[in-house]
C-alpha cells in the first residue's frame, strides 16, 4: 500500500503532536502525580513503530525529527536517540520477514526486544562518552521497569499509530510503503 506525500505530512504532523503531548505527560504530569523514579520514554515506542511498520527511505529523517522534539524535554539531545533509532531500523529490516504483530502479546515481546537493542546502544554510547563502563549494568537496569511498562502500553499505542498512519492492522511486516 502506497501513501501520498500529503497523507504522509498529515500523519507525521499528528505523530509529532502526539509525541509532544506524551512528553509533557512524562515530564510534568506523572512527576506531579508522584511518579518520579521511572520515565516512560514514548519517543522510543513511536520510533519502534515507524521502524517496524513503515517502509520508506525517509524514515531516518522522521526519526531525527522526532528526536529533536524529544530533545526539548530531555538533556539527552537528538543525536543519541537518532543513532539508536537507526540501529533499531536496521535490525527491523533484517527481521522483517519474521515480524508479524498479529497479537498484543507478540507486539509486547517485539517492542521489548527492540527497546533492549535501543537501550544497549544508548548505554554503550553514554558509557563511551563518560569513559566509564562500570555503570553499564546500572544504567541498563534503570531502563528495565519503564521499558516493561512501555511494552505493556505498546499494543494500545501501536493501534493508535496504525490509525494515524492508516496501516492495516492485521499486519504484515510492512504496513505502508511511502
Amino acid at each position: 500500500m502506497k501513501m501520498r506525500l500529503s497523507q504522509l505530512l498529515g500523519s507525521f504532523a499528528i505523530t509529532i503532536a502526539l509525541l509532544t503531548v506524551l512528553e509533557v505527560v512524562t515530564a510534568t504530569v506523572l512527576p506531579a502525580l508522584g511518579w518520579y523514579e521511572y520515565r516512560l520514554t514514548f519517543n522510543v515506542l513511536i520510533i519502534i513503530f515507524l521502524a517496524i511498520r513503515l517502509d520508506s527511505p525517509i524514515v531516518p529523517w522522521m526519526v531525527m525529527s522526532l528526536q529533536v522534539v524529544h530533545s526539548l524535554f530531555s538533556v539527552e539531545g537528538w543525536a543519541l536517540g537518532t543513532f539508536a533509532g537507526l540501529i533499531v531500523m536496521t535490525s527491523a529490516n533484517y527481521l522483517k520477514e519474521v515480524l508479524h504483530l498479529t497479537s498484543a502479546l507478540i507486539t509486547m515481546l517485539t517492542v521489548q526486544l527492540f527497546q533492549l537493542i535501543w537501550y544497549v546502544t544508548v548505554t554503550m554510547i553514554i558509557c563511551l562518552k563518560i569513559s566509564n563502563f562500570d555503570k553499564f549494568g546500572m544504567i541498563i537496569w534503570s531502563f528495565i521497569p519503564g521499558s516493561i511498562l512501555l511494552s505493556m502500553i505498546s499494543p494500545l499505542l501501536f493501534w493508535t499509530m496504525e490509525k494515524i498512519w492508516r496501516v492495516p492492522s492485521e499486519g504484515g511486516p510492512r504496513g505502508v510503503e511511502i
Binding site: E23, F73, E76, F83, I126, S142
Partner: protein, 293 residues
C-alpha cells in the same frame, strides 16, 4: 526491479547521512553543560508554560479528585451539605497548602540569609523525560538573572547546578545525575571525596580509601572546590559502607539531604554582581566567583 534497487539505494544514502549527522551530534554533545540553540530556546519558551500550568494545577486537580470521591454515592438530601463541606474542605486544603508553602518559603528565606549570593526563587515545573538523566526544569531563566553553572539549593541542601537556560526557563542537572560530580567533605572526619549520582534516587561516594574512619550516618557537605558550589552546603548522609575484598577504596552509598520526591521550590544562587544581563555561558571559564557582602 530497477525501481526497487533505486529505492533501496535511497534508503542506504539517507541512513548514512542521518547516521553521520547523529555521530557528529554525539561527538559534540556535552552531558554536563549546554548552550541552547535558538530553535530550542523558542520552542521551550512555547512549551514550558504548558508544563508550568500543569505543575501548578496539581493541587487543584487533587482537590477536584477528592471532591469527586466524596460526592459519589451520597443521597440527594445530603448533596447541598456535602458540597458545602467539600468546598470548606477544599478551602481548608488550599489554606493548608498555603500554610505549608509559607513555611517552606520562610525556611528558604532564613536559609538564604546565610548565603552571600543573589537568590532567585524558582518553581520546579518538570523532570527530564529520559530515564538516564535526572534533570529538573525551573520556571525562571536568564531574564531573571539565572546563568549556567549557578548552584541550585533548598533549605535541606544541594539540588544541583543550572545546565542550560533559556529566557524564562532553566534546566538543572541534579546531584542524582551520573554526569554531576560534587566535591564533598565528610563533616565529622574532614575526609574529601566525590559524590556521583547513581540511580534509584541515591548517590555514591567515591575515592574514600579503606583506612578512612567514615561511618554510616556521617553527613556530607560541599567542599567548595571545583568552582561551582559554595562551601558548606549539605549534600547527604552515608547510609551504607561496603568493604570489598579488592580495591583501595570503599563502596559507599549516600542518600541526598534533599527529598527529590517532594521538590517544589528551589533557590538558584548567582554571584552578587551578576545582574539580569548575565550572559548564558561564562565567557572565560565556568568558575563562579564567590563574593561576600
Amino acid at each position: 526491479m530497477k525501481l526497487i534497487q533505486e529505492s533501496s539505494k535511497t534508503k542506504i544514502v539517507n541512513n548514512l547521512i542521518v547516521g553521520m549527522l547523529a555521530v557528529y551530534g554525539i561527538s559534540q554533545k556535552q552531558f554536563n553543560l549546554s548552550e541552547p540553540s535558538l530553535f530550542h530556546q523558542v520552542v521551550t519558551e512555547v512549551i514550558s508554560p504548558v508544563q508550568e500550568g500543569l505543575a501548578n494545577s496539581k493541587k487543584s486537580l487533587s482537590s477536584l479528585w477528592d471532591n469527586y470521591l466524596s460526592i459519589v454515592n451520597t443521597s440527594k438530601e445530603n448533596n447541598v451539605l456535602r458540597k458545602q463541606i467539600s468546598r470548606l474542605e477544599s478551602d481548608l486544603t488550599s489554606m493548608e497548602e498555603m500554610r505549608k508553602e509559607n513555611l517552606r518559603l520562610k525556611r528558604l528565606l532564613t536559609f538564604t540569609d546565610e548565603q552571600p549570593y543573589n537568590k532567585i526563587m524558582a518553581q520546579v515545573v518538570g523532570w527530564d523525560s529520559s530515564n538516564e538523566f535526572k534533570v529538573i526544569r525551573l520556571n525562571k531563566g536568564t531574564k531573571h538573572g539565572i546563568r549556567t553553572m549557578a548552584p541550585v539549593v533548598t533549605d535541606h541542601g544541594l539540588v544541583g547546578y543550572v545546565y542550560r537556560a533559556t529566557e524564562n526557563y532553566s534546566d538543572v542537572l541534579t546531584i542524582l545525575d551520573q554526569n554531576n560530580r560534587v566535591d564533598i567533605v565528610v563533616e565529622r572526619t574532614r575526609t574529601h571525596g566525590i559524590v556521583e549520582g547513581v540511580f534509584n534516587f541515591k548517590c555514591a561516594l567515591k575515592y574514600i580509601t579503606r583506612n578512612e574512619p567514615v561511618e554510616v550516618g556521617d553527613k556530607l557537605i560541599t567542599a567548595g572546590v571545583g568552582g561551582i558550589y559554595p562551601k558548606g552546603l549539605k549534600v547527604g548522609m552515608i547510609t551504607d559502607i561496603t568493604k570489598e575484598n579488592f580495591g583501595m577504596t570503599l563502596s559507599i552509598e549516600v542518600v541526598p539531604s534533599v527529598d527529590f520526591d517532594k521538590l517544589e521550590e528551589v533557590l538558584v544562587l548567582t554571584p552578587l554582581d551578576s545582574g539580569k544581563s548575565a550572559s548564558i555561558l561564562p565567557t572565560q571559564s565556568p568558575v563562579i566567583e564567590e563574593k561576600k557582602i
